[in-house]
């Protein structure tokens, strides 16, 4: 889901053949990636905690 | 002295502030608690006195607080509110003394007197309410403050009685709220106006107005114990006697009846209510209640239960007086607000005395009570005679006006209801009186914690019923005197009918 959103954003950044792409969507994507990674890290940590409890 | 726009608020605060302070007191601080109660009750009396004088002179008192744009909390004073406020204040004072005596050695007294004060605050608030919003506001607050009083003893019976009470009153509250909001959405802020705020509104909204009326009456009828919404009242008898006395004479039941009077006279107006057929419907409900209550009272052996059904019946006299078109019936209904209050509270005080002093809870145990407790039984007799309608006790005056008003309006059936009810009243009160005075007392009373000293029971328990019985007698004997309840009722009727 997240990757899909990021892809869209990157595509949106296109501003034409010769100009540099629009930086704002890139900022969004980068932030989004950071957030997604942190959230995944937390989720993994919680999942691990769950696993421990199950034993 | 006190600015006109603060006096109503002061009257409300005079029981709110002591009440809140009492909650904070430790159980053992009797003296401080009593002092707070007394200071509150007496200061309220002073403020009310100022109010009476002012209203009689035609001054305007109004306290207004904006809750939201277009929603104002309004406290003001007209003749009807003064009547109810005075009744509540006087009886609160007397009941406080009684409760102090009754609850001696009971636990949780700070909690009790705290909620007691809140209960009176709510009653005063709705008496002084100047619009329907304010009335509903304090009406709900009354439910909240009386529940802990009914549940006070903490026994399973008390919990059950309190639960039933809450279910009925919260349900009624929802109905009242719906009716009130609906009316406001049709007609704007519903201000209590002499002659009825809606009197010029009739037209294509009639069906809605009728529906709203029934919603309002249903919501009010729960507290006023209109059949079939009365079920909570006998159950609530588990509460301590001061609570039953206050609830039945002053606070809850009267609040409902008072609300009905307000809705008919100051919201719809008598003329509109008549033309929509609402008065007829109300009269029917009131009559059914009057007869049903009296019939059920006949079969009750528990003294408080018998008095409870008597209340169900008697409070509907007020509704009946309101429902019969004509100033004389109005006078009868309105004055009965006061008279029934004073008489019924006397009866409940006495019932409490019998229970506390002798452990007597049932009519069948009351043989010869008059020998052991003559003064209490004398007060009880006065109250009972008043209920039946025997002159010169105040009840006679109310019934006289009601009957006269019924005849004048051509409602002869209402007269029949009154007569039948009086006969039934006699049927369930005279046996008690006969037992009390003329039968032999048993060898031992069910439970006599302390034998008769100089006074038949403690002073705090004895004086209140005597005082209220005296009032009941005085209101009847001196009904024609200026500033008697009857005078006030006549003033109210005059202003309502534009005479």
């Amino acid at each position: 889901m997240g990757s899909g959103a990021f892809h869209v954003l990157v595509a949106v950044a296109y501003r034409g053949v010769d100009t540099a792409p629009d930086p704002i969507p890139h900022a969004l994507v980068l932030t989004g990636i950071v957030v997604a990674v942190s959230a995944t890290a937390l989720a993994l940590a919680l999942g691990r905690r769950l696993e421990e409890r199950d034993d | 002295m006190i600015p006109d726009n603060l006096l109503p608020a002061a009257i409300v605060l005079s029981s709110l502030v002591p009440g809140l302070l009492i909650f904070l007191l430790g159980e053992e601080r009797h003296v401080l608690r009593t002092a707070l109660n007394m200071v509150g009750a007496l200061s309220k009396l002073v403020f009310v006195w100022l109010l009476i004088r002012g209203v009689y002179d035609g001054r305007i008192f109004e306290t207004r607080l904006a809750l939201a744009p277009g929603l104002d909390l309004v406290l003001d004073a007209d003749a009807l509110s003064v009547l109810f406020v005075t009744l509540s204040t006087l009886l609160w004072l007397v009941t406080t003394v009684y409760a102090i005596g009754y609850l001696e050695h009971s636990p949780h007294r700070s909690r009790f007197f705290g909620f007691f004060s809140l209960c009176v605050t709510s009653t005063i608030g709705l008496a002084l309410a100047g619009n329907l919003l304010t009335f509903v506001f304090f009406y709900e607050a009354l439910t909240l403050s009386t529940y802990p009083l009914v549940a006070h003893r903490g026994t399973p019976d008390a919990a059950r009685g309190a639960r039933v009470y809450l279910a009925y009153t919260l349900g009624g509250g929802v109905l009242l709220l719906t009716g009130a909001v609906w009316l406001q959405s049709l007609a704007g802020p519903v201000v209590f106006t002499q002659g009825g705020m809606l009197s010029d509104l009739a037209g294509e909204r009639d069906a809605q107005l009728v529906a709203i009326f029934f919603l309002l009456i249903a919501g009010l009828g729960v507290k006023a114990a209109l059949v079939p919404l009365h079920g909570w009242l006998p159950q609530a008898m588990v509460a301590p006697a001061p609570v039953s006395a206050l609830l039945h004479a002053v606070a809850v039941v009267k609040a409902g009846a008072f609300g009905i009077v307000r809705v008919v006279y100051d919201v719809y107006g008598v003329v509109l209510a008549e033309s929509l057929g609402l008065l007829a419907a109300l009269a029917l409900m009131a009559s059914v209640t009057i007869l049903y209550g009296s019939l059920r009272a006949l079969s009750q052996d528990g003294l408080k239960k018998r008095l409870a059904y008597s209340t169900v019946s008697q409070v509907s006299y007020i509704a009946l007086g309101t429902a019969i078109f004509g100033p004389i019936a109005t006078i009868g209904g309105v004055v009965h607000l006061v008279h029934q209050g004073v008489m019924k509270i006397t009866l409940f005080f006495c019932a409490g005395n019998y229970a506390e002093t002798l452990g007597v809870h049932r009519v069948s145990e009351m043989n010869g009570v008059g020998r052991r407790m003559p003064w209490t039984t004398l007060a009880f007799t006065v109250g009972a005679l008043g209920m039946i309608g025997v002159p010169p006790v105040a009840g006679f005056v109310s019934k006289w006006y009601l009957g006269l008003g019924a005849v004048e309006a051509g409602s002869h059936w209402a007269l029949l209801v009154l007569v039948a009810s009086s006969l039934l009243n006699a049927a369930y009160f005279f046996p008690i009186l006969f037992r009390a005075w003329f039968k032999e007392p048993p060898a031992r009373w069910p439970e006599e914690p302390s034998p008769a000293g100089r006074l038949e029971t403690s002073a705090a328990l004895l004086w209140p019923p005597l005082i209220t019985a005296l009032l009941a007698l005085a209101f009847g004997l001196f009904a024609a005197a200026p500033a008697s309840p009857l005078e006030w009722a006549e003033l109210i009727a005059q202003r309502e009918y534009g005479l």
Binding site: M1, G2, G4, A5, V8, L9, V12, I24, P25, L28, T31, G32, V35, A36, S38, A39, L42, A43, L46, R49, L50, R53, D54 | L65, A66, L67, A68, P69, G70, L71, P107, H108, R111, L133, F137, F138, E140, A141, L144, P148, A151, H152, R153, G154, T155, A158, A159, A162, R163, L166, L170, G171, V174, L177, T178, V181, W182, Q184, S185, L186
Partner: protein, 485 residues
């Protein structure tokens, strides 16, 4: 020149960093930060009340290039409530957590606070996303703090659900950016026109946010997460985090999407809200544990908030501020009341060792101040006078009838009756027999004695909900009229 809008964000952020760096002193750092942050937020709120909407451009870069903060009546009101409640929670948390968890609690809590303030003050769509994410992660981490299996599972679910919501929201933002070329709220509002772009991005963004705001039927994750979290965290979750998501829905609706969305969408929101009211109230009525009851009650209260949407859509312009004010009053009152309820629940749980409603009688009787707080919270949840809910509910009902959408009325009444039912169940045992237990003569587990100080935050919050907001809320409408129509 002090930037009063930046302070409420930077102070807790700084505090979080410090609390992480000095774990042994996390509590004093935490409390100091709490006081300062709350003060800054309140000052900002007062400024808005006096001066009108405020805007600040960080680093001097204005829109559409830089990060802007803005505060109007709506955000000021919610900001004030959130910070006051957070201060209360912070005081309470000082006592609640054993020494070991404190070092973990404070950094996470301060980060959550940062996110909260940031969310209320953000002026562009992307910053909203960032703060939303931070909020969700911090909240989930806090919720799982006790480490118990159920708590971890519930909050993991919360985290994943939240993530789904955020991604959906982000997609919507991306689409909007494509069409409008700006992320600033104000500029976007000017350029947005009705059409597929608007509707799809509305659906995406709102969909994500509704998931986070727990509107029925997207509420499923909430009851377990809020019920399992430690009491102060539950208070924050129900009173604040959910409100923040709702605030976003409201903000986007009022500023961006409302004019283009049409009444069908508004009615849909209202219908879902109605379902939430009934379902949430019913489940609360049947709940056996106090915190679960409170959590379901939150679902119901969120439903009430959404009932305002169809009314606002259908009403003429003059009525809008009145409805908006009532909506905000409801949100504020619930925030204080629910926080107070959860904090009280925590105290009861510590005293009794459990939170099974049927057996809480002795604990209620031992802590009369807590019982009072629960009672007041109950009054606010039912909507009895003199709570703020009574006023808001009156306006809601009146407007339903006035605009002809009378079908919301039975929903509200049913919710009220059910709420009366569950509050009654909660408090009935408070009047049980027996005198107050003697101190020290408690049950064999000998729970920690509960001092008066710790009972204060809950009591104060419920008093605010019931007395202050009920009787003194009129200035709120004046405050709101400074906010955009």
């Amino acid at each position: 020149m002090i930037d009063w809008l930046a302070l409420p964000i930077s102070i807790p952020l700084l505090g979080a960093v410090l609390a992480t760096a000095f774990p042994s002193r996390s509590s004093p750092i935490g409390l100091t930060t709490a006081l300062l942050a709350a003060a800054a937020a309140l000052i900002a709120g007062v400024l808005v009340a006096e001066v009108g909407p405020l805007r600040s451009d960080l680093g001097g870069w204005g829109a559409p290039l830089g990060i802007s903060l803005q505060a109007d009546g709506l955000s000021a009101a919610l900001l004030a409530m959130a910070n006051l409640v957070s201060l209360g929670i912070s005081v309470y948390a000082l006592w609640y957590f054993p020494a070991g968890s404190r070092r973990h609690f404070w950094p996470l809590w301060l980060l959550l606070w940062t996110a909260l303030n940031g969310l209320f003050l953000a002026a562009d769509l992307f910053n909203l996303y960032v703060t939303l994410e931070l909020l969700g992660i911090a909240a989930a981490a806090l919720g799982a703090l006790t480490g118990g299996r159920d708590a971890v599972e519930a909050n993991l679910r919360y985290l994943l659900v939240g993530l789904l919501g955020s991604m959906t929201y982000l997609l919507g933002v991306a689409l909007l950016y494509t069409g409008l070329g700006t992320l600033d709220l104000g500029l976007a509002a000017q350029s947005l026109t009705a059409g597929p772009l608007a509707w799809i991005s509305l659906a995406l963004m709102l969909g994500g946010l509704l998931l986070k705001a727990a509107l029925f039927p997207l509420h499923f994750w909430l009851p377990p997460a809020h019920a399992q979290a430690p009491a102060p965290v539950s208070a924050a979750l129900s009173a604040l985090v959910v409100k923040a998501a709702f605030y976003l829905v409201l903000r986007l609706w009022v500023e961006l999407f409302g004019p283009v969305a049409g009444s069908g969408a508004a009615s849909l929101l209202g219908a879902l809200g109605a379902a939430g009211v009934v379902w949430g109230s019913w489940r609360a009525f049947r709940a056996e544990r106090l915190k679960l009851l409170a959590a379901y009650s939150t679902v119901a209260q969120v439903g009430y908030l959404f009932l305002f949407f169809p009314l606002m859509a259908a009403s003429q312009l003059p009525r809008q501020p009145e409805l908006l004010g009532a909506l905000v009053l409801l949100a504020l009152t619930h925030g204080f009341a629910k926080a107070g309820l959860f904090l009280s629940a925590g105290l009861l749980q510590k005293t009794a060792g459990h939170d099974r409603i049927a057996e809480l009688g002795p604990a209620l009787r031992a802590l009369p101040a807590v019982a009072l707080a629960v009672g007041l919270a109950g009054v606010a949840l039912i909507g009895l006078p003199p709570s703020g809910t009574f006023v808001a509910k009156w306006i809601l009902l009146a407007e339903s009838l006035r605009s002809g959408q009378w079908w919301w009325v039975p929903v509200v009444l049913l919710g009220t009756l059910l709420a009366s039912g569950y509050v009654y169940r909660l408090l009935a045992s408070a009047f049980g027999p027996g005198a107050q237990p003697v101190a020290g003569g408690g049950p064999a587990e000998a729970p920690a004695p509960i001092g008066r100080a710790i009972q204060t935050p809950a009591l104060i919050m419920t008093l605010i909900a019931v007395v202050l907001l009920g009787l003194g809320a009129e200035p709120l409408w004046g405050l709101m009229s400074g906010s955009p129509p």
